[in-house]
Symmetry: C2
Subunit: 169 residues, 2 copies
């Protein structure tokens, strides 16, 4: 039972992106978090494919969230980076061996698969309950201040800038 390590990086990136509205290059995100730039690019591409972030090419390009931070759940990010497949895959052992159950009898998943699926649902439901906006709020509460101010400053985005919001497409 192990989750892809890139999930942690991707979530941190989402929190950062939730605090800005201009594209942020992958290289900057990597430097900010002190992680491998090329590998982080892979995670961002996965998120782009999943439609969570939009990639803006060219000079001054980078990644932007496609929706508001409170409409992106942690589950969305986990599914995008780690793949949405359930942790348990039933190999239909009941259909094998000397006392195999005939295929026509196997109309619904076996009891073991049902138990594992229920746990998987509980896990996903818990992840769906948290949004990127929730994480950003918690980070601020933990620090006791608005950390995004410092983030914007380091990224070179003028803090008081009202941000254009021009359609990127």
């Amino acid at each position: 039972m192990k989750l892809s390590g890139g999930v942690e990086w991707a979530l941190h990136c989402c929190v950062v992106l939730s605090g800005v509205t201009v594209p942020v290059p992958a290289a900057k995100l990597a430097e900010f978090h002190d992680v491998s730039p090329t590998y982080l690019a892979k995670q961002l591409q996965s998120m782009s494919r999943a439609g969570l972030v939009r990639s803006v090419q060219g000079q001054a390009g980078g990644y932007v969230l496609t929706r508001s931070a409170d409409s992106i759940t942690v589950l969305d990010v986990v599914d995008a980076v780690d793949g949405g497949e359930p942790a348990f895959h039933c190999t239909e052992i009941r259909q094998r061996g000397p006392l195999a159950t005939p295929v026509e009898k196997c109309v619904k998943p076996c009891a073991i698969a049902r138990a594992m699926a229920a746990a998987d649902r509980a896990w996903r439901e818990a992840l769906r309950a948290s949004t990127i906006a929730d994480l950003a709020r918690d980070v601020n509460e933990d620090a006791g201040r608005d950390v995004m101010i410092g983030v914007r400053g380091w990224l070179g985005v003028p803090a008081g800038h009202p941000l254009p919001l021009h359609a990127t497409r």
Copy 2:
């Protein structure tokens, strides 16, 4: 996010073992489920180490459940075979990079780790809710009959035999 494949085998074995009270050899369990005997032995050893099953050596030896089937949860088996480590491991990204949070400020887990831990708790709680006895009951309901009768027959355990229950230690 992937669970060890041996978990499925181990759970099926537990259901079978819940229907008998005499030791069942690993080779028989492997043949019954049509899986690799040597690899299944590894899973059974893990369960033995975790104290879920007791191993009886020598001729007429094998594996027996150490407790009643309704006091062994699915979580117990998953932890024994897959290892009890949580799926998400926080690498403390907040302590890295140019805007790193100082160590003395990191008194509690970061917001991302908390969200993942909550999901992990939900998952484990769901697995804890199902016992081996529940699984065996569901298997019978699915089949519409007591499958353990056939299992005991194939294993060579006389169905009506009242079983000795002599102390194995």
